[in-house]
């Protein structure tokens, strides 16, 4: 096994272009598990931890451009107000040790339907920035992930990071696990209110082959908010509307049964999380936050 250790982003892209089979590693919290189990034995490992360019985040006209090497811990400390749902999701990841090493870039690379960083990215229409020696491209996160642990990353590409609009309203993330920490989500739900655009973004985690947006539920609740003039009046959402929203989210889930939970439980639970996160976020909005 060869260990490639580029010192710059350019070198990293060149290394990837020279060795398509090289497996990138940043926190290693997914890669090392695979290697320890001898599930993969790559000829080349491409260590990105010495590449400074992907370990930064920056503001870019109302959006954040966050490098693949920014750890969960840094997202929690640096961006908790700017990207609240992502910060909340980051807090639920593993343990302090895992959060100190693990990255959103790695979560994107793994593309697990249970990846905790993904629903907030979907709910805020984030884009993934991919790069190769040939150039860069930006792909909406929903198009980036194509199936369980599958994505559109090309052999010669690396993930630079992601671009996500700064929160312009309250956001929430909720996760159900079978214990309180160190747990893969049984199901999860991310929600973002976009008051300027009069939009509501959602995403269900761990209840379908990929994270999925609950499109019908979004349209439904946007309709409710528009009809009642609630964005302007900051009035309450009716119980019935909240419940209907939850039910519509349930319908968007395509869960399976496994050791973590039954399909029936997952479907029901995402409905609960949807209702809850919407009511919490809306209460914040009403409070003028």
């Amino acid at each position: 096994m060869e260990f490639l250790q580029p010192a710059t982003w350019r070198e990293a892209l060149e290394a990837k272009s020279a060795h398509h089979e090289a497996v990138p590693i940043f926190g290693g919290t997914d890669v090392m598990v695979e290697m320890n189990f001898d599930r993969r034995r790559p000829g080349y490992v491409l260590d990105l931890t010495r590449v400074p360019e992907i370990q930064v985040w920056e503001r870019e006209n109302g959006k954040f451009r966050v490098g693949a090497g920014v750890t969960y811990t840094r997202i929690i400390t640096d961006l908790k107000n700017e990207l609240p749902a992502l910060a909340m999701a980051s807090r639920t990841v593993g343990s302090p040790q895992i959060r100190n090493r693990g990255t959103v870039g790695g979560n994107l690379g793994t593309s697990s339907p249970a990846g905790d960083a993904l629903p907030p990215l979907y709910a805020s229409d984030a884009e993934v920035e991919l790069a190769s020696v040939e150039g860069i491209r930006r792909v909406p996160v929903g198009e980036f992930v194509t199936g369980p642990k599958r994505n559109v990353l090309r052999r010669e590409e690396l993930i630079w990071g992601f671009i996500i609009p700064e929160a312009e309203g309250p956001q929430q993330y909720a996760k159900i696990g079978t214990r309180n920490a160190m747990v893969i989500a049984v199901c999860s739900f991310g929600l973002a209110l976009h008051p300027a655009r009069r939009k509501v973004g959602t995403c269900i985690g761990s209840a379908a082959p990929t994270p999925v947006r609950a499109k019908e539920a979004e349209e439904f609740i946007e309709g409710v908010l528009a009809e009642g003039d609630l964005w302007e009046t900051r009035g309450a959402i009716s119980e019935a509307a909240l419940r209907r929203f939850g039910e519509m989210v349930e319908m968007s889930a395509r869960p399976i049964s496994d050791v973590r939970g039954t399909a029936e439980y997952r479907r029901r639970a995402v409905g609960v999380l949807a209702r809850r996160t919407l009511s919490w976020a809306w209460a914040e909005y009403r409070d003028g936050r």
Partner: protein
């Protein structure tokens, strides 16, 4: 080193800091894998991919060709063992495969990584036969074992259960199940085996150095003197290191084939799910009958467990029911299914842990059916004597534990109506359960006392410290036995060069080793008086305890748990648990507290988390690591309050102590289940209590 050197004769009962604490936190205390050996080789096992059949062909050429590989061992080239009567230890002796994950070979290489990689290059063909790995109550091949674990009779009958049950005013007939569970000590099962000039040394992670020596000597046909087992520090066992398993034999086999080079073999976490024992799943039917006042008149407990086809281990799930409560009639039975599975074994409180989940859940249900508070119902059925032996108890303070626990927990104000309290989205409830564990005795320990001059005594016994604190507690016991301060004692344990000691099992450690040290000290003083000369030495064996003929000896306890259940998602949280124990004298309050907290946490874990999920198509545990086999994290364990009753029991042993290593897990799962019922009104009789089993709420 922090040590209390207080007055002689008063060490027992002091909360002495762990003597081995500094070595452990500085990394100086060697665990099995860490003993320094010259140029070791590394072993990685080959495990069967089928659950039943025979190996037809092995192609090891690619593995053997890998640089660094020393040998690939399979049944084709492994030496024959001297004694293969115990099939668990008949490692690599034939082409037969008896369960999925069974050791069918090993690669030995210069590095661990090479051995592991080479192991994946070995190609194995099988002639696969259909297997059967699922325990069900309606199987037609359940059999009656000759006896159950720990030598208890399989079935018992007292009075006429059928008649009494038929005429009972209040009845309960329910079935409770517990899943397969794996012990999962932090330190994996490890052997470093060195075979040199006919002598075999094993650095071993074990609950008993001497029992390992006996087994290995017998299996290899060696004189016991030629086998030495070294295990000074052990990172937990929970029973899975009580009996040696196939991994030790496999390491010794490899060492025999490559004389002179040490073989290191530590199981991976995943491998620990296939071959070092587990708790059998249980299916337990309980029937209770009571009169109008809530006096039990009929109790029956029928337990179904599984064992491996290659070796019988019949867990004694119904034995606690034989003595817990008073009744006019009682019946207990055990039935066993022999399956194509790995050999089940001891896991913390085998028998009592699953059995008392069932009985104490049933007692809760029955109390409700009788319209009684569950504490009052238990007190009403408190027996005068031990029904099994007809003997009085040496001490039995269950009622005191229930009362004291009720006071500490704040039980008085409890409204017995289920699902009657809500705080925001949380349904809140509380539950209680009793606990018990027998005072077992194991024969065969010896201790040596030697005066080393300048007031110091060497005390030697091949006992085990599996993380429980034996280094400290035996030092305290030796100090009191000799009437000196703990600072004058130089304890040596964990090695077969020391006098033989029984296994750390059945919560017998302190009872047996402590009694033996007391005896050796007594004989020492008798022979050499209070002013011995340097080098004076005495060795003595465990004394008999005639009181076992006169008294039934058990430890008792009571638990209280608060449960909060999310009304929408059914997530369960246990913010607090209270445990009160009556376990004779506490040797060391600090290490004892750790045992109780650990046991109760393990009971909480059993209640809410632990379940080894077997895929019936392949016969293996699918959630075979800590990502998917859950034990609680810190965030899952709320406040655990532990206390004990001052209990004087002059009959049990010279220390007045009862074993405490296992009692903490017995019944604590039922307290949680009963609290969840009280919170939600939903009775879950199948562990673990996962949210999906509680819905719809």
């Amino acid at each position: 080193m922090s040590m209390i050197t207080g007055a002689p004769g008063r060490a027992i009962g002091t909360p002495l800091d762990r003597i081995d604490g500094p070595q452990k936190v500085t990394g100086e205390a060697p665990y099995a894998y860490e003993h320094h050996v010259e140029s070791p080789l590394y072993l990685y096992p080959l495990q069967s991919d089928i659950a039943r059949g025979r190996i037809t062909h092995i192609d090891a050429s690619a593995a053997e060709a890998l640089p660094g590989v020393v040998i690939v061992i399979t049944h084709e080239n492994a030496p024959r063992l001297a004694d293969t009567s115990d099939k668990e230890y008949a490692v690599l002796q034939s082409e037969e495969v008896a369960f999925r994950g069974q050791f069918i070979g090993a690669v030995v290489a210069e590095t661990f990584e090479t051995a592991r990689h080479a192991a994946h290059l070995v190609e194995i063909s099988y002639d696969e036969e259909p297997h059967d790995a699922v325990l069900r109550a309606d199987r037609d091949d359940l059999y009656v074992p000759e006896q159950v674990n720990a030598g208890f009779p399989t079935d018992t009958e007292e009075g006429d259960f059928e008649v009494a049950y038929a005429s009972a005013a209040v009845k309960l007939d329910e079935t409770y199940t517990t899943p397969m569970e794996h012990n999962n000590p932090m330190e994996p099962h490890t052997t470093v085996a060195v075979w040199r000039e006919g002598d075999l040394t094993l650095y071993e992670s074990t609950q008993g150095a001497h029992p390992v020596r006996r087994t290995v000597a017998q299996v290899f046909g060696l004189d016991q003197k030629r086998v030495n087992v070294v295990a000074p520090y052990v990172g937990g066992g929970f029973g899975s290191k009580g009996l040696p398993h196939a991994n030790t034999i496999l390491a010794a086999l490899a060492a025999q084939m490559i004389e002179g080079r040490p073989i290191k073999f530590a199981l991976t976490r995943q491998q620990m799910f296939s071959c070092v024992g587990y708790r059998t799943p249980t299916i337990q039917r309980i029937r209770l009958g009571a009169d109008e006042e809530g006096h039990l008149t009929a109790i029956s407990h029928d337990a179904i467990v599984q064992t491996a086809k290659i070796k019988e281990f019949a867990e004694q799930a119904a034995v606690a029911t034989r003595m817990m409560y008073a009744t006019e009639s009682r019946r207990t039975t055990h039935r066993v299914a022999a399956l194509d599975v790995a050999v089940p074994s001891w896991m913390r409180a085998p028998g009592e842990a699953p059995g008392m989940f069932a009985l104490e859940s049933a007692m809760d249900e029955m109390a409700i059916a009788c319209g009684l508070d569950p504490i009052e119902f238990r007190i009403r059925n408190e027996p005068e004597i031990d029904a099994e032996t007809g003997l009085p108890y040496s001490s039995r303070n269950l009622v005191a534990c229930l009362r004291e626990g009720a006071r500490r927990f704040g039980w008085e104000s409890r409204d017995s109506t289920p699902r009657a309290r809500r705080e925001g989205r949380w349904l809140v409830g509380s539950g209680v359960a009793s606990s018990t564990y027998p005072v077992f005795r194991l024969p065969g320990s010896r201790a040596r006392v030697r005066y080393e001059g300048e007031g110091r005594y060497a005390v030697e016994i091949g006992a085990a410290d599996i993380g429980t604190g034996t280094w400290t507690t035996l030092t305290q016991i030796a100090a009191d036995a000799l009437g000196v301060g703990v600072g004058e004692i130089g304890l040596r344990i964990g090695d077969t060069t020391l006098p033989q000691a029984s296994v750390e099992g059945g919560s017998t450690g302190i009872t047996m080793w402590g009694s033996t040290i007391f005896e050796a000290a007594r004989v020492f003083r008798e022979r050499h008086g209070q002013n011995p000369s340097e080098g004076d030495e005495v060795e003595a064996g465990t004394p008999e305890n005639p009181e076992t003929e006169n008294y039934a000896m058990h430890a008792f306890g009571a638990y209280f748990a608060e449960a909060r259940v999310d009304a929408d998602t059914a997530e369960v949280r246990i913010p607090r648990m209270t445990g009160v124990f009556a376990v004779g004298r506490i040797i060391n309050a600090k290490t004892a507290r750790s045992q109780f907290i650990g046991g109760m946490t393990m009971g909480l874990s059993m209640a809410l988390h632990e379940e080894s999920v077997v895929d019936p198509r392949f016969g293996h545990v699918v959630n075979h690591d800590f990502a998917e086999y859950h034990i609680p994290t810190n965030a899952d364990v709320g406040e655990i309050e532990v206390s004990w009753i001052e209990e004087e029991d002059p009959h049990v042993n010279p220390m007045g102590s009862k074993g405490i290593g296992e009692i903490g897990i017995v019944g604590s799962s039922a307290a949680v289940a009963n609290a969840v019922y009280h919170a939600t009104g939903v009775r879950v009789r199948d562990l673990p209590i996962t949210p999906d089993k509680l819905l719809p709420l």
